[in-house]
């Protein structure tokens, strides 16, 4: 009798773990897509996941082998995580009533255990035929998003997008901390190209409208563009290595590694404030070798945001990139940095600002796009940070650019300058023009005019001299670039015990 019972169990499990019909497996393979269980094996340490609840969901419901989602608990980098993973071989990973309930339950588990929640998405969206059972009700699909919002900042939430994430389903990635998208296969959209053509008359391809590359470089909905599924999964594992399990814990410290060899920091930063340089090279010489993990690399490239380690300590870097658009802050760069700062602050990751910024962009185009509103969003996010906050003035920090990069008024734990630093409302050229434009116009002799302007430039430069600012205690220290890494490592260690409440209130009125 027992043998017979075991036999039945074994048969059922085999049926469940095989997923949908073989034609769907073949279709997946043709698109370079892995079966959901292969993905999970790659994700978890040593390919093991011992807990899989509601595995039998829909197993007795007619023609389905199981439901279109797998939910599991396992380990990533030795840390417990909860996972939901769509199975695109079962009804194209679409959402039925059981799918939604399974997702809600694994979310509830992640919340109770206070461990990271991962969403491995590959889903065609809601099953219209099941809508009454999964769309409008109290434990319908809306609950998934409600839970995501509730858990945001409590536990890390990671989305890997392997295929479509359509209509309502597109909000799962939107509420995650990071969205890793597989090039060519992943997509996000509210209405498919077919629907767009029918409803608004637009003819467009899926790649153009909601493809992975578009979202990672234009819309900013994607954070990391992965070449294939393997890279996407290893990226998620790598990302989690910078994070604690939840907001109450701190990131793990590892052994220090020297930065990669190359030009010295002094040689990288040109003295002429107007000449661009590559901030990536600067970061490479500053952080532990191989530790830089960039967020939104392809989006708003005039600002660089990413995690790294300095002497084994996890930090978040917010750095202007003078090589792109002069490092000027735009609508998208303000948005990108604000979001990154919030992410670091939620999970106790100290933030280092590397400033070389001419200010916020001006002109009709950006004013109409609401640059003030978006700039306010960045300044608000940077202000209410309670993790260690270090402002490094690498070169220029002009106007509200100084404010956005955690200047002295925003209570950084320190504002330190390199000898190349220049802090001012505006650069010498603009300032002299602003103050003396009438006088300059009055001088008729061209030689005399140039002489006058040069003299005023010189006076202005002396007025904003960095040693003068240090003497006035505006900045806390001037350090040579060659000892910046050492200085930061030392300060990060001292600031570790920092604890503060930013403001007594319910929450701010966000300038979004």
């Amino acid at each position: 009798m027992t043998v017979k019972l075991d036999e039945r169990l074994k048969e059922n499990i085999e049926k469940i773990t095989a997923g949908g019909a073989s034609k769907y497996h073949e279709k997946n393979a043709a698109q370079n897509k892995m079966f959901v269980r292969e993905r999970l094996q790659l994700l978890f340490d040593s390919g093991e996941y011992s807990v899989e609840d509601a595995m039998f969901a829909n197993n007795q419901a007619g023609d389905l082998p199981a439901d279109g989602v797998v939910t599991a608990i396992g380990k990533v980098n030795g840390q417990t995580v909860c996972v939901m993973a769509n199975d695109s071989t079962v009804k194209a990973g679409s959402w039925g009533a059981r799918t939604v309930e399974k997702i809600i339950r694994i979310q509830e588990t992640a919340k109770k255990l206070k461990v990271p929640m991962l969403y491995l998405v590959d889903s065609a969206g809601a099953r219209i035929t099941d809508q009454i059972d999964m769309f409008p009700n109290r434990r319908g699909a809306g609950k998934i998003f409600y839970n995501q919002v509730k858990m945001s900042g409590m536990i890390p939430q990671v989305c890997i997008l392997f295929g479509p994430s359509a209509a309502g389903g597109a909000y799962i990635p939107a509420f995650c901390d990071i969205v890793i998208m597989v090039d060519q296969n992943a997509s996000m959209y509210l209405g498919s190209p077919r629907m767009a053509e029918k409803v608004i008359g637009e003819k467009v391809t899926l790649e153009e409208m909601g493809g992975a590359r578009m979202h990672c470089s234009v819309s900013g909905c994607g954070d990391f563009l992965a070449l294939d599924e393997k890279e996407a999964i290893s990226t998620a594992r790598n990302y989690l290595s910078y994070f604690p399990a939840n907001y109450k814990e701190k990131p793990e410290q590892t052994e220090s590694r020297d930065p990669i060899e190359g030009r010295q920091l002094e040689a990288i930063v040109p003295e002429n404030q107007n000449v661009p340089f590559d901030m990536y090279e600067f970061i490479d010489r500053l952080v532990d070798e191989g530790s830089f993990f960039e967020m939104k690399k392809l989006f708003a490239q005039e600002i660089v945001t990413g995690f790294a380690r300095i002497s084994g300590r996890v930090v978040g870097l917010v750095a202007n990139q003078p090589k792109v658009k002069g490092g000027v802050l735009f609508v998208d760069s303000a948005d990108k940095a604000a979001r990154f700062i919030t992410l670091c602050d939620a999970f106790s990751i100290p933030i280092i600002f590397l400033a070389d910024v001419p200010g916020f962009m001006i002109g009709t185009k950006v004013e109409r796009a609401g640059i003030i509103r978006h700039g306010a969003k960045l300044i608000a996010a940077m202000s209410d940070v309670t993790v260690p906050k270090i402002s490094v003035i690498v070169r220029k920090a002009y106007g509200a650019g100084l404010y956005a990069m955690a200047g002295p008024a925003f209570e950084p734990d320190c504002c330190i300058a390199l000898p190349t630093a220049q802090i001012a409302v505006m650069g010498p050229e603009a300032a002299v023009n602003a103050v003396y434009s009438n006088k300059i116009n009055e001088i008729e002799d061209p030689k005399e005019k140039i002489q006058f302007v040069q003299q005023k430039h010189q006076e202005y430069k002396e007025h904003i001299d960095i040693y003068k600012l240090a003497s006035e205690m505006i900045i806390d220290d001037i350090v040579p670039a060659s000892s910046l890494r050492e200085t930061l490592a030392g300060r990060l260690a001292f600031y570790e015990s920092k604890e503060m409440v930013f403001s007594e209130r319910k929450h701010p009125v966000y300038p979004v």
């Binding site: 658009k325 002109g363 185009k365």
Partner: protein, 70 residues
């Protein structure tokens, strides 16, 4: 035909190529002056300069075509 556009609003400071020149991917073709910074505009792929749409001193807005490659 491939168009090289301005990455941001500014004034054309230097035109580094002439019609008929061949350019390689990543080569700077124009330098804008904006926000008191030099903003190099690079070709994203190789080609031959078919047409220069701007001259030194012109104001350009973000997205304006600067150079057409063939």
């Amino acid at each position: 035909m491939k168009e090289i556009t301005a990455s941001m609003a500014g004034t054309v400071w230097q035109v580094l190529v002439a019609e008929g020149d061949t350019v390689s991917a990543g080569q700077s073709v124009i330098i804008l002056e904006s926000m008191k910074m030099e903003i190099p505009i690079d070709a994203s792929e190789e080609g031959t300069v078919a047409e220069l749409k701007v001259a030194s001193g012109d104001f350009v807005n973000e997205g304006d075509v600067l150079v057409v490659l063939k």
